[in-house]
């Protein structure tokens, strides 16, 4: 027996082990592809049925337990990478007065105290291509009070100075590589900080199936899972790009969702619809005259989402103290390769 085959045998799952015990041939050992796929699909189907059965049995047991007034057996929680995350002492505690004092003293406080209205400057790396331009066009529809400026041949430091003089409160630079946008530099003005993100999985609204066109209402902002001290700072930075007063009439929502240090950006419109729902017919009163009334459609409120786009994913590379300065700048946080020694360690 070859080494590889032995290793494969070691990776048998429970179903396969059971099959082997029962003396049946494993689908992977069938040589005819047609028969193999048939056997496999059969096995898969059986597994699904089995799972449905188990869930039904569990639900029934729970229901019975509740009826009897007992405490039902607690449901098993699947082990995921998130809930087996490494212990992190930097997690922000809501009752930490030092944290609030630090937040009150930081660069974003003026925004949260409503001292100014956010004004954003968007520009690109030098000599940008159409993909980047289209991406920026969509960004302009998402972020209110955003202004696109051609990059020209100016230095970023010059542009930062220019933006400061014109009361911009933040600045985004979209970097591109091989004709596709690949990086996002977010600079908070006038004192920083500067965050550098890797930009990936860009999907413009044209490519999103059933996408909607955003209105000009101020969007709501949803920031998910920015829990550590660094995450909180990055979250506050995103919040300071958007105005503080959403217009709920517009039903627009912009989401920055952090999951395992990847920040997913989504832009939606939501709607609460009254929809007719067929009432369930109970078995006992099937042919009585009362059920005519019951069969009349009920109306229920259903929430629906429509994505407006664009969609993209960000990953934090560095957070710099102060505005952009690649030569003499100081970093508050830099991603380093020796941080990636565990899959269960997250920083945001």
């Amino acid at each position: 027996m070859g080494k590889r085959q032995r290793e494969d045998d070691g990776e048998e799952d429970e179903g396969e082990k059971e099959l082997r015990k029962a003396g049946a041939k494993l689908p992977s050992h069938i040589k005819n592809k047609h028969k193999r796929s048939e056997a496999y699909s059969k096995l898969k189907h059986e597994k699904i049925l089995d799972k449905k059965k188990r869930i039904k049995a569990r639900d029934l047991a729970e229901k019975q337990a509740l009826e009897l007034g007992e405490v039902p057996e607690p449901r098993k929680i699947p082990r995921t990478i998130e809930n087996t995350r490494e212990i992190d002492e930097t997690l922000a505690q809501p009752d930490d007065e030092e944290l609030h004092a630090d937040n009150a003293a930081d660069e974003f406080n003026a925004h949260f105290m409503r001292e100014h209205v956010p004004k954003l400057l968007i520009t690109t790396s030098q000599a940008c291509c159409n993909n980047t331009r289209n991406f920026i066009k969509e960004l302009l529809t998402v972020i209110p009070n955003a202004h696109y400026y051609k990059r020209g041949s100016y230095d970023l430091k010059q542009i930062v100075k220019y933006a400061k003089n014109r009361d911009f409160t933040s600045m985004i630079v979209v970097n591109e590589d091989r004709k596709y946008p690949n990086g996002l530099l977010v600079v908070n003005l006038p004192d920083g900080p500067t965050a550098h993100f890797k930009l990936s999985s860009v999907k413009l609204s044209k490519k999103i199936k059933g996408h909607g066109r955003p209105t000009r209402h101020m969007p709501e902002l949803i920031l998910n899972n920015f829990t550590t001290r660094l995450g909180l700072r990055v979250g506050r930075m995103f919040a300071s790009i958007f105005p503080q007063d959403p217009e709920f009439r517009g039903r627009r929502a912009v989401t920055f969702h952090n999951q395992r240090d990847f920040i997913f950006f989504r832009h939606h419109r939501y709607i609460f619809e009254e929809k007719e729902v067929k009432g369930k017919v109970s078995a006992s009163s099937k042919d009585s005259t009362v059920d005519v009334k019951k069969r009349t459609p009920k109306s229920a409120v259903i929430a629906r989402l429509q994505e407006c786009g664009p969609r993209f994913t960000l990953k934090l590379q560095s957070l710099q103290h102060g505005t952009f300065d690649s030569k003499y700048g100081e970093y508050e946080w830099v991603h380093k390769p020796d941080m990636d020694t565990s899959r269960r360690r997250f920083f945001l």
Partner: protein
């Protein structure tokens, strides 16, 4: 089964450290001999961004005081053991010239950039040396509490200007407290006699590079290489270069090398007289041998942001670093392993080791303390031996050169051949 818990860090020897942050808080971190990981045992002050710490200095005598310069331009003298506020001073931002009333205006925009608290002199009373960014240095007498208020002009001992142009960024005073070195942006390293307030030596900018350009001077950190000798100066620049100046020899650097790609932010010299710990703005921390300019190794683990302060413990083989990533880290200075790290919530500006009040139970007799220390020292020796053994087994030739260079004792005299080689730099 995946690993779901963190790796336990090896414990560190007992120490007591004070950390200063950008909200003006002082946090006392202590590692107890029996409790393992260091913890924050006290927090002094109220969070206020106007009170942010700028620089600190601990006087080196038996009952030390701590001087702390704040962002609002005041210098506080604090008791490091209890945190009691002893005295507060203003910082002169103009140069007083006796017969000239027209010149010199107090400048509110000027910020303190360097501070040194002198030991108690024989005549009684302490004094403090301050320097502002615009280059006004001043020595002030620290008044006794009993005598009450005195005007700032009465306390002033000496006041002079370091430079008319340029921005001073760092100040360091040697162990004899007779010489002070200054450096900054647009101001190359200067060595001053503190008593006479006269300039002894100025560095000359390095030669032109292959493009015929001269980088403007940008000194971000300074330290004296050894405790005995004020003539060896190690300088970190904003152009990510570490330089060794020999004041007795020449005005250009004896040795210079690059480290990383971001400006050097913190320097600390080891007690052995040749190794130097270098921290940068991108969170790199490494140890260098200043006899050869060789990188002895990097300190890894939990270093994520700019390092604002590196301090070597006076007796134990540990170094502490802190900075913008809000962590205080303790590394072993020889094995370079991370011994402990404490999350201190705020962006840290500087830290000092407090030797006066070592964390120990008052009931303990003096005999127990040295025993513990020696136990740790033994452990360190074991570690050192194991390292040496590794080197020996893998590269025997390298090991022999290592011992040779060690036996030379270059800390007192630089090797002549080396310096002559490097003069062309």
């Amino acid at each position: 089964m995946p690993r779901t818990s963190q790796v336990e860090l090896t414990g560190c020897p007992p120490f007591r450290a004070l950390c200063f942050d950008n909200l003006g808080l002082i946090k006392v971190v202590e590692a107890q001999p029996d409790k393992g990981a260091p913890q924050v045992v006290a927090r002094w002050g109220h969070p206020d961004s106007q009170q942010a710490a700028v620089c600190t200095s601990l006087s080196g005598d038996t009952y030390p005081s701590l001087a702390l310069a704040r962002k609002n331009g005041r210098v506080e003298i604090i008791d490091p053991a209890s945190g009691a506020h002893r005295m507060e001073l203003g910082v002169p931002t103009k140069v007083d010239i006796p017969n000239d009333r027209s010149r010199g205006q107090e400048d509110a925009s000027d910020v303190v950039c360097g501070l040194h608290l002198f030991k108690e002199s024989s005549s009684g009373g302490k004094s403090v040396l301050t320097c502002t960014e615009k280059g006004v240095a001043a020595i002030q007498r620290v008044p006794d509490q009993i005598k009450g208020e005195a005007t700032d002009s009465e306390l002033l001992i000496a006041n002079w200007s370091i430079s008319e142009s340029g921005c001073v960024l760092c100040l360091r005073v040697d162990t004899t407290e007779q010489h002070a070195a200054f450096g900054g942006r647009g101001l190359d390293v200067n060595l001053w006699d503190v008593e006479k307030c006269s300039r002894l030596w100025t560095a000359k900018s390095p030669r032109r590079d292959n493009l015929g350009l001269i980088a403007p001077p940008y000194v971000t950190s300074l330290t004296f290489l050894s405790n005995e000798d004020h003539r060896k100066l190690v300088v970190g620049t904003g152009h990510h270069q570490v330089r060794l100046y020999d004041v007795g020899g020449q005005r250009r650097p004896v040795l210079a090398f690059n480290f990383g790609e971001s400006p050097i932010r913190a320097l600390a010299a080891d007690a052995d007289g040749y190794s130097v710990y270098v921290g940068t703005g991108a969170g790199d921390l490494a140890c260098f041998d200043m006899r050869t300019g060789q990188n002895l190794g990097a300190f890894k683990g939990k270093v994520a942001g700019s390092i604002r302060s590196v301090v070597r413990h006076p007796t134990l083989p540990i170094i502490a670093s802190c900075g913008l990533d809000r962590y205080l880290r303790i590394h072993h200075s020889k094995t370079r392993q991370l011994l402990a790290s404490v999350f201190l919530k705020q962006q840290l500006v500087s830290m000092v080791f407090d030797m006066s009040a070592l964390p120990q139970e008052p009931a303990k007799t003096d005999a127990t303390v040295p025993q513990e220390k020696s136990a740790f020292d033994d452990g360190r020796d074991d570690l050192d031996n194991s390292i040496l053994h590794k080197v020996k087994s893998s590269k025997e030739r390298k090991h022999t050169t290592f011992t040779e260079s060690k036996s030379l004792g270059v800390s007192k005299k630089p090797r002549k051949s080396k310096s002559s080689e490097l003069q062309d730099y």
